[in-house]
Subunit: 399 residues, 2 copies
Amino acid sequence: MSKNLKLGIFGFGVVGQGLYHVLEETKGIKAEVLKICVKHPNKKRPLPERYFTFQKEDILENPEVDVVLELIDDPEAAFQIVSTALKKGKAVVTANKKMVADHMTELYDLQKKYNVPILYEGACCASIPIIRNLEEYYDNDLLSAVEGIFNGSTNYILTKVFAEQKSFGEALTEAQELGYAETDPTLDVGGFDAKYKLCIILNHAFGLFVNPDDVFNYGIQNISEFDIKIAREKGYKIKLVAKSRKIGNRVVAMVIPKFVNEKSELFKVENEYNGVIVEGAFSEHQFFIGKGAGGYPTGSAVLSDISALTYNYKYEYKKTKQVSNLELSSDIELTIYLRFDDPSLIDKDDFIKILEEYKALENQYIIGKINFSKLVSAKWLSSPKVNMILMHNGDENHR
Amino acid sequence: MSKNLKLGIFGFGVVGQGLYHVLEETKGIKAEVLKICVKHPNKKRPLPERYFTFQKEDILENPEVDVVLELIDDPEAAFQIVSTALKKGKAVVTANKKMVADHMTELYDLQKKYNVPILYEGACCASIPIIRNLEEYYDNDLLSAVEGIFNGSTNYILTKVFAEQKSFGEALTEAQELGYAETDPTLDVGGFDAKYKLCIILNHAFGLFVNPDDVFNYGIQNISEFDIKIAREKGYKIKLVAKSRKIGNRVVAMVIPKFVNEKSELFKVENEYNGVIVEGAFSEHQFFIGKGAGGYPTGSAVLSDISALTYNYKYEYKKTKQVSNLELSSDIELTIYLRFDDPSLIDKDDFIKILEEYKALENQYIIGKINFSKLVSAKWLSSPKVNMILMHNGDENHR
């Protein structure tokens, strides 16, 4: 029979409150909130005072607490809480993607050492059960690629900018007001949030432990009206895409804006939705769409982890045991669109081949083939007056 | 640690062979095939003879066998095997939708009585983990609807008929040759296969035990060139859709051909793929696409069940315990397209309202509102010269 779990929660923001309400309205789950640890003593809160504490020991040192839910913003404080909880033999559920991505190795070791699970489905694409799905692929060579839209707020922004001709700033403010955006918008807009999720997925898909700093991310902050016009003319939308592909013993991974045409499954993933494509040897092609942001979808994923703990579920990390010489690689040819106003800003010699060139008074662009390793180290890419977008078939030749 | 499971398999057709190869190539799973029980002693088989037996006792009475995989065609023989296995304390994995749908109550009782799990993810939409996903919704009132394309072979046929102007018979033969179609094609084409899956889903979504005979199914066998022409003119595709929706304490369920337009997520689900839309209170709208037929996708779902057994997973059937006055109902208004050549074949008085009428020399159709309970009992619906298709917004007013 399933256990009646006692929960201690850290953080009571969008996700914490979402979880509380989901839990409250879900009679089928036997779990009870004992304490909620919060930072600011003076904030007004929608629950009676007796639930709240400002001392983390009230949860971490409380022998009654079975499960610690870590739902705070600060990744380093979160790691302190989570590692202490695991050392005390408490199961952990977290939705903190940066914390998990930054400390994957330590969290893996702590779980093994203290024989206690940590689950983090809510950290990846909220309502899409992607980690559990990837755990169902038992060998890393049975998976060839995971690709998708992993960030709800940038997808919301791009949808609004595209469909409703809103300005970038206007759409961002709207996303923040709706609770889809991280407190620091550069985390979303710069592709960092999607990258943390990708790093977690790289582990469950291929068994790789990667440092997020080693994975390339390029955001949507430089997208201009001109870029959008070009996309429209070509029948594309622009989506911020997280990609990973296993090629022999190399894994290529990146977060990058991409032109997608209507044949792509990602074309129709709009607003705060996320979409994930999984290419496997036997199931071949699976596609998942679901809400990727917001307190309720994330709360519901957290609840699903709590429920899994009642039957002693834990991630098996099977693929980490199969990895021998697998490594992250940037040796792949990409076809990119590169827009700039002044040709002195960029270096065409970095390209293997220029396929198209366009010049007008205020805008120029080239479409060309470039090695990913060259792109990663290109100085011109950091200019705010330059924008880069992966072509819709930008790495097709490697499929 | 996960157990090393010993498997006894019944049946070595498309799914059995698919499973064997998936298992063979999946080093990450510790499970071993002990015996395979087959019916025909003289068939040529791709494995050494020592694997095979023609006596079911060699598996059912073998104390070494932990898990019985039931992968045969005949639902009644399958139920005998499965119920015996459960009584002997052996876990069961099956992909037999008709058997599970027909015997849901008995299987539920056997599991409880003998405290041994039966898993059947492979019975519903092959590579889409729909049952496990529905198990993650803990209360039936947190789910409002499950709808989708549940049958790969009819979707393959409709895709070919639509996109490649193939004839119905030609497309069916092709689907059978590819191993997507059931041995008896009326199971697929008549919507029975989709209905069995829907019945299983009705249990895991809403907690209902239903007799498949009580669920309405209308197939695609009467679709004519004219219907396809009309669909094209209106910008629709025809999809065979399984639908269920909870409205208060009633659940409406049916399998029915439906016009879908490009705004529907099902529009792009083509060939042997299945697609399932889940509407939930907290995750709101999830959509899953994956291969819905074929030995490998089904084998991979079966393997995922085998793996789940290594950590003692079982379905919780939480919603069956929450059901008090929930019942299957056909009291809902539908908007349907009805085509016929002779108006004496149908009875317009059955309709609440006729919205459109079209007459030509050889074909006539009406589009009108009708109560579902009226439709279910309409005699004219059994005429092979009549065809009925649900309009794309056919029950929208109840959403």
